[in-house]
Amino acid sequence: MSNSIKDIIKTFKTRQDEQIDESAVEEVKMEPPTKTEVVQPVLETKKQPVAKVVKEPKKKMDKVVSTESEKPKANQEILPKISLSDEFFNTLAGQEFVYEDRRIAYIETDLYEIFMSVKRKKKLKNISVLINAILNQFVEDNKEDIKQILTNNRL
Protein backbone atom coordinates (compact mmCIF):
# COMPACT_ATOMS: atom_id res chain seq x y z
CA MET A 1 0.00 0.00 0.00
CA SER A 2 1.43 3.37 -0.97
CA ASN A 3 1.89 6.29 1.36
CA SER A 4 -0.80 8.24 -0.43
CA ILE A 5 -3.43 5.58 0.08
CA LYS A 6 -2.30 5.22 3.68
CA ASP A 7 -2.72 8.96 4.16
CA ILE A 8 -6.23 8.87 2.76
CA ILE A 9 -7.20 5.97 5.01
CA LYS A 10 -5.77 7.87 7.96
CA THR A 11 -7.88 10.90 7.09
CA PHE A 12 -10.91 8.65 6.74
CA LYS A 13 -10.42 7.22 10.22
CA THR A 14 -9.99 10.67 11.70
CA ARG A 15 -13.15 11.88 9.98
CA GLN A 16 -15.02 8.83 11.18
CA ASP A 17 -14.10 9.57 14.78
CA GLU A 18 -15.15 13.19 14.38
CA GLN A 19 -18.51 12.18 12.90
CA ILE A 20 -19.21 9.77 15.74
CA ASP A 21 -18.61 12.64 18.16
CA GLU A 22 -20.92 14.98 16.23
CA SER A 23 -23.55 12.30 16.04
CA ALA A 24 -23.47 11.79 19.78
CA VAL A 25 -24.02 15.47 20.47
CA GLU A 26 -26.84 15.74 17.94
CA GLU A 27 -28.60 12.80 19.41
CA VAL A 28 -28.62 14.29 22.86
CA LYS A 29 -29.86 17.65 21.61
CA MET A 30 -32.61 16.18 19.45
CA GLU A 31 -34.00 13.84 22.05
CA PRO A 32 -33.97 15.57 25.40
CA PRO A 33 -34.20 12.85 27.98
CA THR A 34 -36.52 13.18 30.92
CA LYS A 35 -33.92 12.55 33.57
CA THR A 36 -31.65 15.57 33.68
CA GLU A 37 -29.16 13.97 35.99
CA VAL A 38 -28.33 11.50 33.22
CA VAL A 39 -27.95 14.15 30.53
CA GLN A 40 -25.42 16.34 32.21
CA PRO A 41 -22.35 14.15 32.03
CA VAL A 42 -23.06 13.31 28.41
CA LEU A 43 -23.20 16.92 27.33
CA GLU A 44 -19.90 17.56 29.05
CA THR A 45 -18.08 14.62 27.50
CA LYS A 46 -18.88 13.95 23.89
CA LYS A 47 -17.66 10.39 23.88
CA GLN A 48 -20.10 9.11 26.45
CA PRO A 49 -22.06 6.22 24.97
CA VAL A 50 -25.22 7.67 23.50
CA ALA A 51 -27.24 4.58 24.28
CA LYS A 52 -27.39 5.55 27.94
CA VAL A 53 -29.54 8.61 27.33
CA VAL A 54 -31.43 7.72 24.20
CA LYS A 55 -35.05 6.86 24.68
CA GLU A 56 -36.49 3.70 23.30
CA PRO A 57 -36.00 3.93 19.52
CA LYS A 58 -38.94 5.40 17.65
CA LYS A 59 -40.69 3.23 15.14
CA LYS A 60 -39.28 4.75 11.99
CA MET A 61 -42.12 3.43 9.83
CA ASP A 62 -44.62 5.59 11.68
CA LYS A 63 -43.32 8.64 9.88
CA VAL A 64 -43.42 7.01 6.52
CA VAL A 65 -46.59 5.04 6.48
CA SER A 66 -48.95 7.20 8.41
CA THR A 67 -50.51 9.85 6.17
CA GLU A 68 -51.60 7.82 3.19
CA SER A 69 -53.08 4.89 5.00
CA GLU A 70 -54.79 6.92 7.71
CA LYS A 71 -56.52 9.44 5.47
CA PRO A 72 -57.82 7.75 2.38
CA LYS A 73 -59.67 10.14 0.10
CA ALA A 74 -62.88 9.29 -1.64
CA ASN A 75 -62.39 7.21 -4.78
CA GLN A 76 -58.73 6.81 -3.93
CA GLU A 77 -57.26 3.43 -3.42
CA ILE A 78 -56.47 2.63 0.19
CA LEU A 79 -53.01 1.56 -0.78
CA PRO A 80 -50.32 2.01 1.79
CA LYS A 81 -47.28 3.89 0.62
CA ILE A 82 -43.68 3.45 1.57
CA SER A 83 -41.46 6.39 0.77
CA LEU A 84 -38.08 5.89 -0.82
CA SER A 85 -36.00 7.66 -3.42
CA ASP A 86 -36.07 6.33 -6.98
CA GLU A 87 -32.43 5.45 -6.75
CA PHE A 88 -32.89 3.64 -3.52
CA PHE A 89 -35.76 1.68 -5.00
CA ASN A 90 -33.16 -0.06 -7.12
CA THR A 91 -31.81 -1.75 -4.04
CA LEU A 92 -35.25 -3.16 -3.35
CA ALA A 93 -35.84 -4.32 -6.89
CA GLY A 94 -34.90 -7.85 -6.06
CA GLN A 95 -36.92 -7.89 -2.86
CA GLU A 96 -40.60 -8.27 -3.52
CA PHE A 97 -42.81 -6.48 -1.07
CA VAL A 98 -45.73 -8.84 -1.32
CA TYR A 99 -48.52 -10.32 0.69
CA GLU A 100 -50.12 -13.54 -0.40
CA ASP A 101 -48.26 -13.45 -3.69
CA ARG A 102 -49.44 -9.96 -4.59
CA ARG A 103 -47.62 -6.67 -4.53
CA ILE A 104 -49.26 -4.61 -1.87
CA ALA A 105 -47.23 -1.44 -1.68
CA TYR A 106 -45.36 0.85 -3.98
CA ILE A 107 -42.39 2.96 -3.15
CA GLU A 108 -41.46 6.58 -3.65
CA THR A 109 -39.67 9.64 -2.18
CA ASP A 110 -37.14 9.43 0.54
CA LEU A 111 -36.35 7.08 3.39
CA TYR A 112 -32.69 7.02 2.59
CA GLU A 113 -31.59 9.46 5.25
CA ILE A 114 -33.37 7.49 7.92
CA PHE A 115 -31.74 4.28 6.81
CA MET A 116 -28.30 5.80 6.58
CA SER A 117 -28.67 7.47 9.94
CA VAL A 118 -29.76 4.26 11.60
CA LYS A 119 -27.10 2.31 9.80
CA ARG A 120 -24.35 4.66 10.89
CA LYS A 121 -25.40 4.86 14.48
CA LYS A 122 -26.24 1.24 14.99
CA LYS A 123 -23.40 0.07 12.76
CA LEU A 124 -25.58 -2.37 10.86
CA LYS A 125 -23.53 -4.46 8.51
CA ASN A 126 -26.10 -4.97 5.82
CA ILE A 127 -28.73 -2.37 5.12
CA SER A 128 -30.94 -4.86 3.31
CA VAL A 129 -31.48 -6.66 6.61
CA LEU A 130 -32.87 -3.44 8.02
CA ILE A 131 -35.05 -2.83 4.98
CA ASN A 132 -36.46 -6.31 5.16
CA ALA A 133 -37.14 -5.94 8.85
CA ILE A 134 -38.99 -2.67 8.30
CA LEU A 135 -40.96 -3.98 5.35
CA ASN A 136 -41.93 -7.12 7.22
CA GLN A 137 -42.97 -5.04 10.17
CA PHE A 138 -45.00 -2.83 7.87
CA VAL A 139 -46.85 -5.81 6.43
CA GLU A 140 -47.43 -7.12 9.92
CA ASP A 141 -48.75 -3.77 11.19
CA ASN A 142 -51.07 -3.32 8.24
CA LYS A 143 -52.23 -6.88 7.89
CA GLU A 144 -55.92 -6.12 8.33
CA ASP A 145 -55.92 -3.26 5.81
CA ILE A 146 -54.03 -5.36 3.34
CA LYS A 147 -56.46 -8.24 3.73
CA GLN A 148 -59.34 -5.89 3.17
CA ILE A 149 -57.76 -4.42 0.07
CA LEU A 150 -57.07 -7.85 -1.33
CA THR A 151 -60.57 -9.04 -0.48
CA ASN A 152 -62.09 -6.05 -2.24
CA ASN A 153 -59.79 -6.67 -5.17
CA ARG A 154 -58.65 -3.08 -5.15
CA LEU A 155 -55.18 -3.56 -6.45
Binding site: I5, I8, T11, N126, I127
Partner: protein, 205 residues
Protein backbone atom coordinates in the same frame (compact mmCIF):
# COMPACT_ATOMS: atom_id res chain seq x y z
CA UNK B 1 -5.02 8.90 -10.62
CA UNK B 2 -8.69 9.42 -9.88
CA UNK B 3 -11.20 7.34 -11.82
CA UNK B 4 -14.82 8.21 -11.20
CA UNK B 5 -17.68 5.81 -11.96
CA UNK B 6 -20.87 7.69 -12.67
CA UNK B 7 -24.13 7.92 -14.52
CA UNK B 8 -27.28 9.83 -13.75
CA UNK B 9 -29.18 6.57 -14.02
CA UNK B 10 -28.95 4.08 -11.18
CA UNK B 11 -28.89 0.35 -11.81
CA UNK B 12 -26.53 0.40 -14.77
CA UNK B 13 -23.85 -1.57 -12.93
CA UNK B 14 -21.55 1.21 -11.70
CA UNK B 15 -20.66 -0.49 -8.46
CA UNK B 16 -20.20 -3.93 -10.01
CA UNK B 17 -17.98 -2.49 -12.71
CA UNK B 18 -15.99 -0.58 -10.11
CA UNK B 19 -15.37 -3.75 -8.10
CA UNK B 20 -14.44 -5.68 -11.23
CA UNK B 21 -11.98 -3.02 -12.35
CA UNK B 22 -10.46 -2.82 -8.86
CA UNK B 23 -10.07 -6.61 -8.78
CA UNK B 24 -8.55 -6.59 -12.25
CA UNK B 25 -6.21 -3.69 -11.49
CA UNK B 26 -4.87 -5.21 -8.27
CA UNK B 27 -4.87 -8.93 -9.05
CA UNK B 28 -4.02 -8.91 -12.75
CA UNK B 29 -2.26 -5.59 -13.34
CA UNK B 30 -0.67 -5.51 -9.87
CA UNK B 31 -1.59 -1.88 -9.29
CA UNK B 32 -2.37 -0.33 -5.89
CA UNK B 33 -6.02 0.64 -5.66
CA UNK B 34 -8.31 2.37 -3.19
CA UNK B 35 -12.08 2.48 -3.62
CA UNK B 36 -14.00 5.43 -2.20
CA UNK B 37 -17.60 4.28 -2.09
CA UNK B 38 -19.67 7.46 -2.39
CA UNK B 39 -22.83 5.85 -3.71
CA UNK B 40 -25.56 6.29 -1.12
CA UNK B 41 -26.38 2.60 -1.33
CA UNK B 42 -22.83 1.80 -0.14
CA UNK B 43 -23.12 -1.54 -1.87
CA UNK B 44 -19.36 -1.92 -2.38
CA UNK B 45 -18.68 -1.29 1.29
CA UNK B 46 -21.39 -3.74 2.26
CA UNK B 47 -19.98 -6.33 -0.11
CA UNK B 48 -16.55 -5.84 1.45
CA UNK B 49 -17.93 -6.28 4.95
CA UNK B 50 -19.61 -9.50 3.89
CA UNK B 51 -16.38 -10.65 2.28
CA UNK B 52 -14.51 -9.85 5.48
CA UNK B 53 -17.00 -11.94 7.42
CA UNK B 54 -16.94 -14.85 4.98
CA UNK B 55 -13.31 -15.02 4.01
CA UNK B 56 -9.97 -15.10 5.78
CA UNK B 57 -7.94 -13.90 2.81
CA UNK B 58 -6.06 -10.63 2.78
CA UNK B 59 -8.04 -8.07 0.84
CA UNK B 60 -6.20 -6.69 -2.20
CA UNK B 61 -7.42 -3.13 -1.67
CA UNK B 62 -9.27 -0.97 0.83
CA UNK B 63 -12.85 0.25 0.49
CA UNK B 64 -13.81 3.47 2.28
CA UNK B 65 -17.50 4.44 2.63
CA UNK B 66 -17.53 8.21 2.22
CA UNK B 67 -20.29 10.75 1.65
CA UNK B 68 -19.93 13.05 -1.36
CA UNK B 69 -20.24 16.01 1.00
CA UNK B 70 -17.10 14.81 2.76
CA UNK B 71 -15.01 14.84 -0.40
CA UNK B 72 -13.39 18.26 0.21
CA UNK B 73 -11.60 16.77 3.22
CA UNK B 74 -9.78 14.38 0.87
CA UNK B 75 -9.43 16.52 -2.23
CA UNK B 76 -5.88 17.76 -1.52
CA UNK B 77 -4.55 14.32 -0.65
CA UNK B 78 -6.01 12.86 -3.82
CA UNK B 79 -4.07 15.18 -6.05
CA UNK B 80 -1.03 13.70 -7.74
CA UNK B 81 -1.62 10.22 -6.41
CA UNK B 82 0.12 7.70 -8.64
CA UNK B 83 -1.98 4.84 -7.39
CA UNK B 84 -5.50 4.33 -8.61
CA UNK B 85 -8.31 5.90 -6.62
CA UNK B 86 -11.69 4.64 -7.82
CA UNK B 87 -14.73 6.65 -6.79
CA UNK B 88 -18.20 5.17 -7.10
CA UNK B 89 -20.74 7.99 -7.35
CA UNK B 90 -24.47 7.89 -6.61
CA UNK B 91 -26.81 7.61 -9.60
CA UNK B 92 -27.83 11.24 -9.71
CA UNK B 93 -26.53 14.64 -10.76
CA UNK B 94 -28.71 17.10 -8.85
CA UNK B 95 -26.24 17.47 -6.03
CA UNK B 96 -23.67 20.24 -5.70
CA UNK B 97 -21.31 18.02 -3.75
CA UNK B 98 -20.66 16.05 -6.96
CA UNK B 99 -19.15 19.06 -8.72
CA UNK B 100 -15.64 19.04 -7.18
CA UNK B 101 -15.46 15.27 -7.53
CA UNK B 102 -16.21 15.43 -11.25
CA UNK B 103 -13.91 18.40 -11.70
CA UNK B 104 -11.00 16.61 -10.02
CA UNK B 105 -11.48 13.29 -11.80
CA UNK B 106 -8.74 12.30 -14.19
CA UNK B 107 -11.03 9.86 -15.99
CA UNK B 108 -14.72 9.08 -15.88
CA UNK B 109 -16.12 5.63 -16.53
CA UNK B 110 -19.78 5.66 -17.40
CA UNK B 111 -21.48 2.28 -17.67
CA UNK B 112 -24.74 2.22 -19.60
CA UNK B 113 -27.07 -0.02 -21.57
CA UNK B 114 -28.94 0.45 -24.81
CA UNK B 115 -32.26 1.44 -23.32
CA UNK B 116 -33.82 4.76 -24.29
CA UNK B 117 -34.11 6.11 -20.74
CA UNK B 118 -30.56 5.06 -19.92
CA UNK B 119 -29.25 6.74 -23.05
CA UNK B 120 -30.90 10.00 -22.07
CA UNK B 121 -29.47 9.85 -18.54
CA UNK B 122 -26.05 8.88 -19.85
CA UNK B 123 -25.92 11.84 -22.21
CA UNK B 124 -27.10 14.21 -19.47
CA UNK B 125 -24.39 12.97 -17.12
CA UNK B 126 -21.70 13.17 -19.81
CA UNK B 127 -22.70 16.70 -20.75
CA UNK B 128 -22.42 17.71 -17.13
CA UNK B 129 -18.92 16.26 -16.95
CA UNK B 130 -17.98 18.09 -20.14
CA UNK B 131 -19.52 21.30 -18.85
CA UNK B 132 -16.93 21.40 -16.09
CA UNK B 133 -14.08 20.24 -18.28
CA UNK B 134 -14.55 19.78 -22.00
CA UNK B 135 -11.31 17.79 -22.21
CA UNK B 136 -12.24 15.27 -19.53
CA UNK B 137 -11.94 11.77 -20.90
CA UNK B 138 -15.06 9.66 -20.53
CA UNK B 139 -15.20 5.93 -21.20
CA UNK B 140 -18.72 4.76 -21.99
CA UNK B 141 -18.92 1.06 -21.19
CA UNK B 142 -21.91 -0.85 -22.58
CA UNK B 143 -22.69 -3.06 -19.63
CA UNK B 144 -24.69 -6.28 -19.25
CA UNK B 145 -24.76 -6.59 -23.00
CA UNK B 146 -26.92 -9.44 -24.19
CA UNK B 147 -25.55 -10.88 -27.40
CA UNK B 148 -28.84 -12.55 -28.23
CA UNK B 149 -30.64 -9.21 -28.44
CA UNK B 150 -30.65 -6.99 -31.48
CA UNK B 151 -30.42 -3.53 -29.96
CA UNK B 152 -32.27 -1.12 -32.26
CA UNK B 153 -30.67 1.93 -30.71
CA UNK B 154 -27.10 0.68 -30.59
CA UNK B 155 -25.82 2.43 -33.72
CA UNK B 156 -27.35 5.79 -32.87
CA UNK B 157 -26.38 5.59 -29.20
CA UNK B 158 -22.76 4.72 -30.01
CA UNK B 159 -22.60 7.55 -32.52
CA UNK B 160 -23.96 10.11 -30.08
CA UNK B 161 -21.83 8.99 -27.16
CA UNK B 162 -18.73 8.96 -29.35
CA UNK B 163 -19.12 12.72 -29.65
CA UNK B 164 -18.66 12.96 -25.87
CA UNK B 165 -16.11 10.26 -25.18
CA UNK B 166 -14.88 6.79 -26.02
CA UNK B 167 -17.36 3.94 -26.34
CA UNK B 168 -15.61 0.72 -25.39
CA UNK B 169 -16.54 -2.76 -26.49
CA UNK B 170 -19.43 -4.15 -24.47
CA UNK B 171 -19.16 -6.22 -21.32
CA UNK B 172 -21.42 -9.15 -21.97
CA UNK B 173 -24.05 -10.25 -19.52
CA UNK B 174 -22.76 -13.32 -17.69
CA UNK B 175 -23.94 -15.07 -14.57
CA UNK B 176 -20.39 -15.14 -13.32
CA UNK B 177 -20.43 -11.34 -12.99
CA UNK B 178 -23.31 -11.60 -10.55
CA UNK B 179 -21.06 -13.66 -8.27
CA UNK B 180 -18.27 -11.21 -7.84
CA UNK B 181 -16.57 -10.40 -4.57
CA UNK B 182 -14.03 -7.80 -3.55
CA UNK B 183 -10.98 -10.02 -3.28
CA UNK B 184 -10.66 -12.32 -6.28
CA UNK B 185 -11.30 -12.58 -9.98
CA UNK B 186 -11.86 -15.98 -11.54
CA UNK B 187 -10.81 -17.00 -15.03
CA UNK B 188 -14.30 -16.69 -16.48
CA UNK B 189 -14.78 -13.20 -15.07
CA UNK B 190 -11.37 -12.23 -16.36
CA UNK B 191 -12.23 -13.43 -19.86
CA UNK B 192 -15.42 -11.36 -19.89
CA UNK B 193 -13.79 -8.08 -18.85
CA UNK B 194 -10.17 -8.20 -19.93
CA UNK B 195 -10.54 -6.78 -23.43
CA UNK B 196 -12.44 -3.74 -22.19
CA UNK B 197 -10.28 -3.25 -19.11
CA UNK B 198 -7.03 -3.68 -21.03
CA UNK B 199 -8.22 -1.05 -23.47
CA UNK B 200 -8.95 1.33 -20.59
CA UNK B 201 -5.60 0.67 -18.88
CA UNK B 202 -3.68 1.07 -22.11
CA UNK B 203 -5.38 4.40 -22.70
CA UNK B 204 -4.95 5.88 -19.25
CA UNK B 205 -1.50 4.68 -18.22
Amino acid sequence: MRIVFGNQKGGVGKSTLCIMLANYATLVKKRAVLIMDMDFQKSIDERRQEDNDDSKVTMPYEVLPIETTDYPHYAEQLKNVDDIIMIDLPGKIDDESLIPILQDADYVICPFDYEKSVFSSTVTFARLVKYFDKNKQIFFVPNRFKQSINYDLKGKVDAELSKLGTVTKPITDRVTLKRINTFEINEEQKRVVEEVFDFIFNTIK
